[in-house]
């Protein structure tokens, strides 16, 4: 957890509106684990004022990759970075996915940009584990399968893969949960996370959810990013510090 300035080595367009920002830092590459994020300063001025949080999408040798789409002013500026620029970032931040649990099959569930953290996760996953990925999107161009394995696709409009949402698709493959010792790793829009959470809790499936929330600091000093704890007596948890990855049983979405 530190402030660093590291050089951009490439800004690539992965597809459509999705970009990959690659930057070099041996030290940060070594420290990063799947599900953690960096809080990135997108401009040299104080406009936009706040940093923007992005998951670490992948690490290859000393290259960190971030995956993003153009959403507003901040991501637009990020998409203009080019080789040779320096980016100023804080991290790695937060608690990522826990890969040490007892499971034999990793079930990846991603909606839209929710695919971002999983290349690194698969990278770090022990080679003995099986992987099953479910990836959803509005339409074909929104489906991101970059570096995922064993992918099943769902689109709202049916333009590719299953016609429906990713949760419905998973239900069609329910048998994997009975046939394997699964752990679910999910990232995507709240309705998706919520449906998945309910399902996993009801069926006693180990499940981790990567959550999102507006953030100011990203490291626990502003209290801007609360998420309701499932333990009604305890106060809010902080997405940036206690998360962004939570076990499905620990939070209310």
């Amino acid at each position: 957890m530190q402030i660093s300035k590291i050089p951009v080595v490439a800004l690539e367009q992965l597809q459509n509106n999705v970009f990959l920002l690659k930057a070099r830092s041996k030290e940060l590459a070594e420290k990063s684990s799947p599900g953690q994020f960096f809080n990135i300063k997108v401009s040299d001025s104080y406009f936009p004022l706040l940093r923007r949080p992005f998951s670490i999408s992948n690490v290859e040798n000393d290259i960190l990759t971030f995956m993003f789409d153009i959403h507003g002013e901040g991501t637009k500026l990020l998409s203009l970075k080019k080789e040779g620029d320096n980016i100023d970032l804080i991290g790695p931040l937060g608690n990522g996915f826990n890969l040490d649990d007892d499971f034999d099959t990793a079930v990846i569930v991603a909606g839209g940009l929710g695919s971002a953290p999983f290349p690194l996760l698969l990278n770090k996953l022990s080679k003995e584990k099986k992987v099953k990925s479910f990836v959803g999107g509005r339409s074909k161009p929104n489906v991101i399968t970059w570096k995922l394995a064993n992918v099943n696709i769902a689109t709202d409009d049916g333009s590719i893969g299953f016609h429906g949402n990713v949760f419905q698709l998973i239900k069609k493959h329910e048998n994997i949960f009975t046939e394997n010792k699964c752990k679910v790793f999910a990232c995507g829009p709240n309705p998706m996370l919520k449906a998945l959470q309910e399902y996993c809790l009801a069926n006693n499936i180990n499940c981790e959810l990567s959550t999102e929330c507006a953030m100011a600091c990203g490291f626990g000093i502003c209290q801007g990013c609360p998420i309701e704890s499932s333990d009604k007596k305890s106060p809010y948890k902080l997405v940036c510090k206690d998360g962004p990855v939570f076990n499905a049983k620990d939070i209310l979405i």
Partner: protein
């Protein structure tokens, strides 16, 4: 290099090694930010507002970015007095930075009770009384925008401590200097100005407020000109030390506040973006002073030239 510049300041009895203070609510209780900056070099840390009992704070969404600013409605989420003393002070003690404890309350009695209880803590060198939080239903601006409440709070808190008392004023008023005057009259040692401005923002697609609490407090560079005007107003009208706050991002902004009348200043929002800003500001102040041949930084206070 030239001879050493004296950066120390004395704010109504509160002695700091330099005028850089970290603002309440923007450094937590020091732990997390200590990963990024050397707190022992900072003039003072003002802790997150503490109240008698723990407060859960407001439901999300608590923050939203605005042009050159941000709105927050944290709702004074804090661990409460007891846990503050037991769990937070020990770390802060180690840090070796001057500690100012910010207190928020929903009644005069609660202010008094908190101050009394904390008065015995050696680590705490002064109190900042928050009478101006815009994000809570009780207390907050109901006190902060009422002169007689501010007077009574100052008086009652004064009665239970000999440590420096700083009253943190609301900018959401037309006559901030009258509030500063009553603080002085009732025995307060300093005022800090400003807390956040009341603001709001709507999502145009679902017509809901972007901040769950509907309104929030505006901070950051956007409010700097307003804060400078408030500090100047107090400085011209009332003889009381002022701690300037509002939109300070770098040493230049800090110098501007001191010229406008501040004896010291606090940095808030900038900590979220650059948690090492305090140290960078100290360095900037030193080189400004040496360039301007200022021997003691306190010479800068209210050095404005209005012709």
């Amino acid at each position: 290099m030239s001879e050493r510049i004296d950066l120390s300041v004395n704010i109504g009895g509160l002695k700091l090694k330099n005028p850089v203070m970290l603002a309440s609510g923007t450094v937590g209780y020091g732990n997390e930010i200590s990963n990024f900056t050397d707190l022992s070099k900072i003039g003072a840390i003002v802790t997150k507002s503490v109240s008698l009992n723990p407060r859960k704070g407001n439901p999300p969404q608590r923050i939203v970015e605005t042009p050159s600013g941000m709105l927050n409605a944290i709702g004074l989420a804090n661990v409460g007095l007891e846990s503050f003393i037991n769990d937070k002070i020990p770390f802060l003690k180690e840090v070796n930075s001057t500690l100012v404890c910010n207190i928020a309350a929903s009644s005069i009695e609660e202010y008094v009770e908190c101050t009394k209880t904390l008065d015995g803590e050696d680590t705490i060198k002064g109190f900042e009384i928050n009478v101006s939080c815009p994000n809570v239903k009780e207390g907050g601006l109901i006190f902060g925008n009422d002169i007689s409440s501010v007077g009574r709070i100052t008086e009652k808190v004064r009665a239970v401590t000999n440590k420096p008392i700083i009253i943190k004023l609301s900018p959401n008023t037309s006559n901030i200097s009258e509030f500063a005057k009553v603080v002085k009259d009732e025995g307060g040692d300093a005022v800090s100005a400003i807390n956040t401005l009341v603001g709001a923002s709507f999502n145009i697609w679902n017509k809901k407020p972007k901040i769950n609490n509907v309104t929030g407090g505006l901070s950051g560079p956007a409010i700097k000109p307003v804060a400078i005007a408030k500090v100047l107003e107090i400085s011209r009208k009332v003889d009381i030390p002022i701690i300037g706050i509002g939109g300070i991002m770098d040493w230049k902004d800090a110098v501007e506040f001191m010229i406008a009348g501040a004896s010291a200043f606090q940095i808030g929002t900038v900590n979220f973006i650059n948690p090492n800003a305090g140290i960078e500001i100290i360095e900037g102040l030193e080189s400004y002073c040496s360039q301007m041949k200022i021997k003691s930084i306190s010479e800068l206070t209210a050095s404005y030239n209005l012709e």
